[in-house]
Symmetry: C2
Subunit: 332 residues, 2 copies
C-alpha cells in the first residue's frame, strides 16, 4: 500500500500533536504543513515540535501553492471550531481532491447550524471526489459516536444520557482558562451571556445522536453553569481560591414535545473527582458503557484525527459525519 500523503493545516496544540503522530506512522507520510501565523512561517517543523533534528518540512503560508506543489491525499485541518471560518480552507482542499479530516467542532454535524454552507461543502466535496469529516474526542467520540455505536445491540432506544467528567487540573493552561478556572462567578456569567464560554459542539452532539436514533427533536439547547471551588485548588498552572470558578458544567438537551430524549453533560473543572465518561441508553435492552478514568483530551483528539484519515480516504466522496465512515481505529 502506498503511504497516505498528508498536509497539516493549522499548527496549534492539536495540529502539532497530530503532526507528531503522523511523523511516527509508517502508513502515513507528512507531505507539508501550513499555518498563517507569521511566527511559524518558514520554520522547520522540528523547531515547533521542539525536536533537535530538522524534518525538512518548512511551514508554508500560501496554501494554494502548497496544494498545487504537493497534491496531498488528505488534509488534517485544525484551524477553527466554527464552520464558516474553515469554509475557504475546505473548498481549497476538495478542489485539489484532498480528503479533509478536521477538528472543527461544528463540522461534527455541519448542517445543524449551517445548512446552506453544508450543502455547498457537500457539493464541492463530491465534485472534487473528496470526503470531508469532522471528528475529535468531544465532539466526535465519547458523547455522540459511542452512544450511537452502543445502540448496535438495541432493538429500541427511548432516551440517551451521557456524562463526561474531566479533571481540568490535568489539562493544559488554555483548557483551564477555557473552562473559566480562577474567574469570579460574575465574570463567568457575563462571558456565558456573551456566548464566549461553553463547549463548542455540544449541541451538534445532541443533534447527531437525535438524528441517528430518529428522535425528530424539535429543540436542541444547552445550559452553561459555573462549578465553584468549595476550597482552594491548585494546578501546575494556576490557583483557584475558594468561592471562585473551578470550571464549567455544560449540559446539552434535545427535546421532542417537551420531553428530554437526549441529555449530554460535560463537566470540566479543576479538582473534579472520579473523572470518566458514562453512557446510558434506555431501551431494549438498556446499555450502560463506562470509560473508567475517562478518555483524555488533546492527545486523544490528535489520535482520533490521525486514525480517521484512512477511513476518510476509503469513504465515498461528500460531506460526511463520523457515523457514515468505517470506524476509526489505531493507525500504524
Amino acid at each position: 500500500m502506498p503511504r497516505i500523503r498528508i498536509l497539516a493545516v493549522g499548527l496549534g496544540p492539536i495540529g502539532l500533536a497530530a503532526v507528531r503522530l503522523v511523523l511516527g506512522r509508517r502508513t502515513l507520510e507528512l507531505a507539508g504543513a501550513v499555518d498563517v501565523d507569521r511566527d511559524k512561517r518558514g520554520k522547520d517543523l522540528a523547531e515547533l515540535l521542539g525536536r533537535p533534528t530538522p524534518t525538512g518540512i518548512l511551514v508554508a503560508d500560501d496554501a494554494e501553492a502548497v496544494y498545487a506543489r504537493l497534491a496531498p491525499d488528505a488534509v488534517l485541518l485544525c484551524t477553527s471550531s466554527f464552520l464558516p471560518a474553515v469554509r475557504e480552507q475546505v473548498l481549497l482542499a476538495v478542489r485539489h481532491g484532498a480528503d479533509v479530516v478536521s477538528s472543527c467542532e461544528e463540522m461534527l454535524l455541519p448542517d445543524f447550524q449551517h445548512p446552506e454552507l453544508a450543502a455547498e461543502l457537500d457539493r464541492a466535496a463530491r465534485q472534487g471526489g473528496a470526503t470531508v469529516v469532522g471528528t475529535g474526542v468531544n465532539p466526535g467520540f465519547v458523547l455522540d459516536f459511542m452512544p450511537v455505536v452502543a445502540s448496535a445491540v438495541c432493538s429500541e432506544v427511548r432516551r440517551v444520557r451521557a456524562r463526561r467528567v474531566v479533571d481540568a487540573s490535568t489539562r493544559r493552561l488554555p483548557l483551564q482558562k477555557k473552562v473559566g478556572a480562577g474567574m469570579a462567578e460574575a465574570e463567568f456569567r457575563s462571558l456565558v451571556a456573551a456566548g464566549r464560554l461553553g463547549h463548542v459542539g455540544l449541541r451538534e452532539s445532541v443533534a447527531l445522536v437525535g438524528r441517528a436514533f430518529g428522535f425528530e427533536l424539535d429543540e436542541v439547547s444547552q445550559t452553561v453553569e459555573p462549578v465553584l471551588a468549595t476550597e482552594e485548588r491548585r494546578t501546575p498552572h494556576l490557583a483557584v481560591p475558594a468561592g471562585r470558578v473551578a470550571g464549567i458544567r455544560n449540559v446539552g438537551v434535545g427535546r421532542r414535545g417537551g420531553e428530554a430524549l437526549v441529555e449530554l453533560e460535560l463537566e470540566m473543572y479543576v479538582g473534579a473527582p472520579d473523572p470518566g465518561d458514562e453512557i446510558l441508553l434506555e431501551g431494549d435492552p438498556d446499555v450502560r458503557v463506562r470509560f473508567a478514568g475517562g478518555v483524555p483530551g488533546d492527545e486523544a483528539t490528535a489520535a482520533i484525527l490521525v486514525n480517521t484519515v484512512p477511513r476518510a480516504v476509503e469513504a465515498a466522496p461528500g460531506l460526511r459525519t463520523v457515523l457514515d465512515l468505517a470506524p476509526a481505529r489505531l493507525v500504524r
Copy 2:
C-alpha cells in the same frame, strides 16, 4: 427512502428473533422466509412467532425460486456457525445481488480458517454487486469490534485484554447445554477433546483484533475449561449439582514471538457473579471500557444483525468484516 426488502434464511431462535424485529421496523420490509426444516415449510411465519394474526409470509424451502420471485435487497442468514456450511447459501444470495448479513460465527473473519473459500465468496460478492458480512454480539461486537473501536483515541496499542462474563442462568436452555451446564467434568473434557464444546468464533475475534492492530500474530489458540459448581445451582431449565459443570471458561490468545498480545476471555456459567463485558487496551493512553451488566445474548444478536443491514446495503461490494462498514446503529 424505499424500504429495504429482506429475506430471512434460517428460522432458528436467532433467525426468528431477527424476523420479529424486521416486522416492526418501518424502514425494513420482510419479503420472505426460507427454512429447510419440514416442520416449518409452508407455515405462516405468525405460527412460528406465536402470533395470532397471519403475516401472509409462508416459509419456503426452495431458496432459488424465492430469490427469483422476490428479488430481495438483503438476506439475514442464520443457518450455521461454520463458513463451509453457508457457502452455497451465500453464493446463491450474491448471484441474485442480495447483500448478506449473517450470524455465522466463522464469517466474522472468513479468511482466518478458510482463505480459499473466502476468496471465492469475495469474488462472487463483487461480481454480484453484493456485500457479505458476519456479525453478532460475540463474535461481532463486545470482544472484537468494541476493542478496535475504542482504539480510535489511541496513538499506540501494545496489548488487548477483554473479558465477557455471562450468567448462563438467564439464558435459554440450548445455551445452557452448549456451555455444558449439568455435565460431569469427564464428559465435558471428552467433548472438548472432540472439538464439540467451546465458543465458535473466539479465535476469529482474536485474529480480527490482531489484524486491526497490525500485531502480526504468529499463533492464535484457545483453551476450553469447565467451571465447576461449588454448590447446587438451579435455573428455570435445569439443576446443576455441586461438583458438576456449571459452564465454560473459554480463553482465546493471540501471540507474537511467544508474547500474548491479545487475550479474550469468555466465561458463561450458571450463577456467574457480576456479569459484564470489560475491555482493556494497554497503550497510549490506556483505555478501559466496561459494559455494566453485560450486553445480553440472543435478543441483542438479533438486533445487531438487523441493525447491520442498512450499513451492508450502503457498503461497497465484497466479503467484508464489521470493521469495514459504517458502524451498525439502531434501525427504526
